[in-house]
């Protein structure tokens, strides 16, 4: 009985890892060469961002313990008003690195009093990569790149407000 519970917990918490293992098992049995290639790609990309992951977690620790709740909720919470969204959009455009590394960082800011809309706005504005605009222009031209970037920024705040509205809908009208 106890063992069954433990297995279930493991399955629930690590289902993605188990899924990856199963997929690799399948890939190795069908096309061993390509599976090995996939594993190599996985290993090299993981090791290239490993330091960044550790650094970001370090930053999460600093934010949670050292940055005061008052400051965050004054700047990025309801009290921050619309300025909070402009700060969020600006931060989003300069952040780099894969989004799934930024998630814990944003959650620590959320836990310290930032509103949902601000978190989502950062993630939406994140599709504008100011450090990479020269590269985008090189491949796609000025007209395309600038239009895409401007539209993405314009949409960032409405997207933030929309997701916040979904998150804060009263429990009574929440779909089951």
């Amino acid at each position: 009985m106890k063992l069954k519970g433990t297995l279930w917990t493991l399955l629930r918490s690590q289902w993605l890892l188990l899924l990856a293992i199963v997929l690799y098992g399948w890939a190795f049995s069908v096309t061993p060469d390509r599976a090995l290639e996939a594993l190599t790609v996985a290993g090299t990309s993981f090791s290239s961002v490993l330091l960044l992951i550790v650094a970001v977690m370090g930053l999460v620790g600093v934010i949670q313990v050292w940055i005061s709740r008052d400051l965050i909720s004054r700047l990025l919470g309801r009290q921050g008003g619309f300025r909070a969204f402009f700060i969020a959009a600006a931060c989003g455009t300069v952040l780099i690195g894969p989004a799934y590394i930024i998630f814990p960082l944003l959650m620590s800011i959320r836990a310290q009093g930032a509103r949902w809309g601000v978190i989502v706005t950062v993630l939406a504005a994140y599709a504008v990569k100011i450090p990479m605009i020269p590269l985008e222009v090189q491949y796609l031209g000025w007209g395309f790149s600038l239009t895409r970037s401007l539209l993405t920024i314009l949409f960032a705040i409405p997207i933030g407000l929309a997701v916040e509205a979904i998150m804060e809908r009263p429990a009574a009208i929440r779909p089951p």
């Binding site: 330091l51 992951i53 977690m57 370090g58 799934y100 599709a127 395309f144 993405t152």
Partner: protein
Amino acid sequence: MTNVGLTYLLLIVITYGVLFRISPGRTRQSLAVAGQSLGRLFPLLIAVFALIGLFQVYLPPEAIQQRLGAASGWSALVSGGLLGAVAIGPPVAAFPLAGSLLAAGAWPPAIAAFIVSWVSVGVISLPVEAEVFGLRFALARNGIAFLAALLIGLLVGVVA
């Protein structure tokens, strides 16, 4: 990327050094929080990277190109958004791919939707997002980001 990571890590180590001089107790507390979040996310991240490897080998740029090049109109727009949502990788890889598609005559709105969706919608990283923020948030954010990617794509077609 390794150099960027090293730079950030160095900055964080220096920050911890400075904070330790101010208050060793709170710094240890920070370290504990950092270790906990790293431990919680580590298996998930390993899984995500394992899947990234599979995707890059089994869904290579050529396959995306074929799919997007053949489609037109609405189906191209939706394909662009969907391919961007499942594709994962640095935008550095998205731009050359998008450039070659545009040069090959692909519909610009579909390409714009593809890029925006590539960066802001993540099907593979959805489990990580749900683990950190909760499932409701992950679904709502990715759903709305996907719709926005299509809309931004269409508008790029009108303006550019």
